[in-house]
Amino acid sequence: MSMRMRVLVALAVIFSPSSAFAEGLSPRIRSNPHRFDSPQHFAMEFRMGPYRPDVDGEPGLTSKPYNTVFGESKSLYIGGEFDWQAVRIPYVGTLGPGFSIGYMSNTTTAPFKTARTDGAASSSTTSLEVIPIHAIGVFRADVLWRDLQIPFVPYAKGGFAMARWRASGDNGTDGYNGVPSKGTVYGYHVAGGLMLSLNWIEPHTARNFDQTLGVNGTYLFFEVYTTSLTSSFKDQPLYAGTTSWTAGLAFEF
């Protein structure tokens, strides 16, 4: 046995499922957990994470308006992604197009322009909403999990990104000298992450999930990404992109 094979075997032992679950499976399934899987063509992700649009990174600004209004806080981003695993590269992984959409909103109290004589506090709110949309290529290197039973699937994504944004206040969408406070920006999106197979933790449940619903694999994932949104049909784009991380649940089916 070569050194390489020894390392792989050692990793397989370390990450092998608990014996209690493994004992409940037939020898044929234990030898190849994917032998009786249903066909797999798609993936779906549900994700969340912090999001702070890089508004203040826009060149030419004389101050940091996002930081001035919203402070250092980050907003919660929630989103979903749907991938078509169009191509399976043997002993490597899957490759295909994907589409994702998400939403973030940051809302805070809007201060008075001039101080009031009665010292009353403002009840006004101001908010910025961003809906990032990505059309991307997705590569998932599931060889580790499928062929070596190491329950990790690294992946990479990249492609076109756009976002709709809107700033609003008490009276709906804010405006400024007649300019509606909303727009669309374009750019690119790149991401990389790692998925942990939950099938490895609960193989029996996973098999039932596959047999009843056709879900081949369930994963927890962690991803870092950069969405650069610095282009627009308008004169100036709002830099609504960000560099951040996200985590969630993924299904392959």
Partner: protein, 425 residues
Amino acid sequence: MSFLTRARWLWLQIVTSMVLMSAVAVADPTITLRETDTIPPLRSIKERSSGSATKYNYGVNRSDCDNDLTYTYTASFASWTTTGYNFEVWAGTVDCKDTANRGIGGSAQRCWQVVSASGDARTGSQSITVRARDVVAHLGESSIAAGTLYSTASSDVCSSTSGKDAIEVTLYFMIVKTSDSASAAAASVPLYVDLVGPTAPEITDIGIKDGVLQVNWSTTTTTSDSGGTSVNPDVLKYKVWFTPKRGEPGTSGSTWDKTCANIAWTNDSTDASADADAGTGSDADVDATADADTGSGDAASDAVAVDASDAGSEAAVILPDTTSGLDYVDDISATSSSVDVTGLTNDVVYTFVLSAVDKMENVGASSSAKCTYPSDTLGFYETYRGAGGQAGGGFCSTGYGAGSGVMACGIGLAAIVAWRRRRRS
């Protein structure tokens, strides 16, 4: 003629007399009643016990009483061919067919007449009109003087609301024998009477926004036997009045000190009719205050002068919808405890009062008045533009810098069309 023959003849006479007498008894007049669709006002009132079934289609609220509305019923009479009967209409919360409840024989009278008695024989269908004030005239009285007959009730019966809160009154349309006042025939119909509005809510604070003031209040609640509180089931909605109206200049800047120390909202307890009397002589105290504070306060103070008589009690108060100085927000849900009054002008002082409205559309006593003014605020987008940012305008929208946006849209559409043509070729 033998004794036996005489006895038979006498027996025949007795039987014949009995048959004739019974025939006369059967011929008592009859009355049937149907409500016409012309009876004002038609209200859909939820039965309180079940909270869902509509029990009473018709009722009398404070406004109906103040306005002296009438209720018209159609009664059909039959077999009224002889004298010896009166047509009478009684109201009460007990069985008015019982002579005792009508004070006959010296007993305590508990019902009262709502239409003058008439001895004329009636036939066919006839309209009978009943006044709302007569219906509530003796409601809530512990005793009615025996022998009290119909007399036209005045408006005073409307402002006297004791015992007139959510109670069922029954109208009895009766043909009464003149001999003993017993009811020969009767038809009845219920009327729901509620002259008392919900208790006054209290404005807790007013949130200040840009062109918007958020009025917050404590909802009117009821307390159960176990001590728990819940939203008063009698409350149908809330209504907020404010002044000046949207778009009117009101008072602002240096002409008003903005401390609201000189709120000119009066509770005129001398006028129980509860109508709005902005600008009338009853607002002398308001005028004086406003004059002293601003030197030119007549118009403004008259505008906010609203008769909220009996404020603090449970008497219903009719606040105006269209009085010149007042604007309002209506149909606020009974479960709400705040409302955003929008479309206001920044730095203009607005004064608010609030009332709950019950399911009989009685407007309850108004809250105490509070005032403040909206202020211009600095939102994110204005801050961004102030920092030199130029983004905005939407996708392919018009507006500032629209030229390039429209051009970009045009280029995009042209590219799509060209691409499709190329594919076809």
